[in-house]
Symmetry: C2
Subunit: 107 residues, 2 copies
DNA sequence: ACATAATACTATACATAGCATAGTATAAGA
DNA sequence: TCTTATACTATGCTATGTATAGTATTATGT
């Protein structure tokens, strides 16, 4: 899938993954496996950005002697998702236009 | 609308606008007016990029003493649109996942 | 015992696309 | 004569996704 098309969506996808329960980097990648292929180099910067934005909060839990960084979604993060859903409707307008123009050609 | 979300779509939107008939910069902006707000600083670079990619061809027509640059879509440009439509289905998967996780929370 | 895979994260650097801003230049209308 | 519409070019910024590499521990396989 074209990287450009993912822009703006991956971030929100990560937020959505944290709606059910708190999670950490490695686990998030796995839980999103069926939805989208997201690599470490994409996810970790997103997590840091979202924390800076206050869309996420983090806390560390010791696991096998190392710290696992858990993230939980904030109210602001949930607002962010709602804005995305609204924006996506506008994107659908663009998509529909494109699909329509192609069909016209076929007819 | 969030600029990031438009990435990858505007370019194809311009291609789609040229499916019916050849057109030029200023006119394209107008014809896309109802679909998406695209400014000159966005459109003209797109047109040049698409011509370099060979998704568009151009020719100049004199109009009131100045040259108007008309663009027409190539076969490669039409292929490009088809790829976009496929890619968009994957994006819909992401969107559906996000919408689903939000709903779960409401229930 | 040793190698490999899985786990878990950090850091650097890059490409791309959309967009703001500014500049150039002509024609038409108030 | 001033503004608006027309039509395009050029420079530079920012955000996001991604490749690559590095670090370090645990579990598994041979």
């Amino acid at each position: 899938m074209d990287a450009q098309l993912k822009k703006g969506s991956l971030e929100v996808c990560v937020l959505a993954a944290l709606m059910k329960q708190d999670s950490y980097g490695y686990k998030i990648i796995q839980s999103l496996d069926e939805v989208v292929d997201i690599s470490e180099s994409t996810l970790y910067p997103i997590l840091r950005r979202l924390e800076q934005n206050e869309c996420l909060q983090s806390y560390s839990v010791e696991h096998n002697g190392r710290l696992r960084k858990f993230y939980s979604i904030t109210d602001k993060g949930q607002e962010r998702i709602k804005e995305y859903l609204l924006d996506f409707k506008e994107l659908m307008n663009i998509y529909n236009y494109i699909a329509r123009e192609v069909k016209k050609d076929v007819e």
